[in-house]
Symmetry: C2
Subunit: 342 residues, 2 copies
DNA sequence: CTGAAAGCGCTTACAG
DNA sequence: CTGAAAGCGCTTACAG
């Protein structure tokens, strides 16, 4: 070992292992890749050499040769604050990680711009860095992501905004409209006479669907469907929306909120204004994320199985990567979780 | 375009661009890499071809040829809950992202096991997937990370537990002992007669340093230094530690908590037990993360510039990657932020 | 300024 | 079961 470069150890190559074991590179490659066509003694010799040299295959060379990166991207078109601020994402990530655990794939998180992806993101996704992608929190207007599945295997978290634009259309979702209707109906069954909603951004399909579910239930009850204010899925957004709602309808006595985090913000405004929850105003959230139970008052909410959804996205992508043409749309169930806010 | 494979578009190569532009692959490569030795007309022709074909260089081939991946890993040896639960990490990530913005490097997040890294993580880091790594929240006992810098350029968030084991030793930190002493002194100056601490895990250097700072200040004041209970840097951990502290010393009237998140948990226990904050018990946190201002009572805390620290780690790694032998240890300042809890 | 050629470290038919 | 050889898509001296 020369000391010429004060630098770092140079990684051993397949070639070195072959020399050490006294076999050809092909054979070493077979061993590394678990081919069965290797005699026991050669197998042992190669493994010894691998251990001795501490050999780890070079990913770039491997990828170039077999056109697989063994990496998948989790793309979330949200800024850091939104991503880290909403426990929903943590659960999705946990689910995906879990779904990938037994595979050889690693997960690379890419936070993208909420509006349209940066040049860097595009080059990353299209430059052969990953074998597939999971896109969560997709906003309409992101034409890039919409058409990405023509180039790369992609699974979306949430049904697409414009299904017609997709080449392939794989997603995991819940029936958001149904869930929202259920949450709203819960408020109506409580006898609430003026039920509003704090909706999500109207460029997200899940938000649109939840608003529609609220609307459906409210309309069926004979109440007016005018009380909708949009928030941005943050706590502050929920608070702002609540303020506007109170201004527009001081007499409201129930509100369905499209996410737990927004519900938390809404509740703090209600209490600041002297309204008791659920006494004066009953609040139902959506997600049943950890935000539902971390605030001052435990949220009654519509549960969606975020972790399982993440795991399912991973499984679906893995199946696509294996070339299987399995189920491509998976809609999971929601359910009411009754706690203290309604 | 044949319809034989129902598959996906195959990406155009350098070769294709060269053919399209009527030049050699070398020339296209030069254009792609921004070499100046290209005549204007050839440059234009190549760029046109690139646009027309929508060419994006294949990363694997590129990496293999020039031994650069243009990716760096952010390694956080914490489970998903800890990572997503503590806003401190969000701020670090924001800082790093910001520090990398103007570079061509992408950031790949790797959550590792808190104890020792998985085979997958090791292979990832050593298999040529990244050009360098930033390791945050390093625990002692992780010999792998400790010696990783012999193989890969690494910057640590926080000074090392065992500096002697490191080959290279690059880190960004604050003076944790100093900061903790300052926070504790603040409590003492308030006239608190029995000041405890909720410390972090004792396998983390930052936690050890903060405990030492508390101890130094408390000892100097003539109070006993027996009131230390360790938490795990989570809200629940802070709450549990507070319960134990109250049991051991019902008369305590001040507590320095090694993280804002733990402080939040501690305060909720105090209030549950009927102790007013800061009236009965004054609480000082550490971090000044968003956790300091999101609870029922705004935290008085020791501020550390998390975002700037992240940015600095990125800059330091970038410098290492450029081969610069710059400053390798950067200690940033802390300061008191006085709010309502003390 | 431009091109031919070698090489990066693997995998994978193809022979044997 | 094993090896020689071609090839994956780039970069980079080396000539010219």
């Amino acid at each position: 070992m020369t000391l010429e470069t004060p630098g770092r150890r140079v990684a051993p190559t397949l070639e070195a292992v072959a020399a050490e074991a006294g076999v050809s590179r092909s054979t070493v490659s077979r061993v590394v890749n678990g081919s069965s066509h290797v005699s026991p003694d050669v197998l042992a010799a190669v493994n010894t050499a691998i251990d001795r040299l501490n050999y780890i295959p070079n990913r770039a060379a491997r990828s170039l040769a077999n056109r697989q990166t063994m990496a998948i991207a989790l793309v979330v078109p949200e800024d850091t604050n939104r991503f880290f601020g909403d426990p929903f994402f943590a659960e999705i990530v946990q689910g995906i990680t879990q779904g990938l655990e037994d595979s050889d794939y690693v997960l690379n998180l890419q936070l993208a711009s909420p509006s349209s992806p940066s040049e860097k993101t595009i080059r990353y996704l299209l430059g052969g860095n990953v074998d597939g992608a999971i896109v969560v929190s997709h906003h309409s207007g992101d034409d890039f992501f919409t058409t990405l599945d023509a180039t790369l295997p992609v699974v979306f978290g949430g049904r697409p905004y414009r299904p017609d634009l997709h080449r392939n259309n794989n997603f995991v979702d819940v029936d958001n409209a149904e869930g929202a209707a259920m949450g709203t109906q819960y408020l109506l069954d409580l006898g609430r006479k003026r039920v509003a909603t704090i909706a999500g951004p109207d460029n997200m399909q899940a938000a649109i669907d939840r608003t529609e579910g609220w609307q459906r239930a409210v309309r069926a009850s004979g109440q007016p469907t005018d009380l909708v204010v949009h928030g941005d899925f943050t706590m502050a957004g929920g608070a702002a929306a609540m303020r506007e709602l109170l201004e527009r309808a001081p007499d409201l006595d129930g509100v369905f909120v499209a996410s737990d985090l927004m519900a938390t913000g809404a509740i703090s405004v209600l209490r600041d204004r002297g309204r008791s929850v659920p006494g004066d105003v009953a609040v139902v959230g959506f997600d049943d994320s950890s935000a539902a139970t971390s605030g001052e008052i435990q949220l009654t909410t519509v549960h969606q199985p975020s972790r399982e959804m993440g795991a399912e996205m991973a499984r679906m992508l893995l199946a696509l990567l294996r070339g299987e043409t399995t189920e491509r749309e998976r809609v999971m169930p929601t359910r009411m979780v009754v706690r203290d806010s309604a």
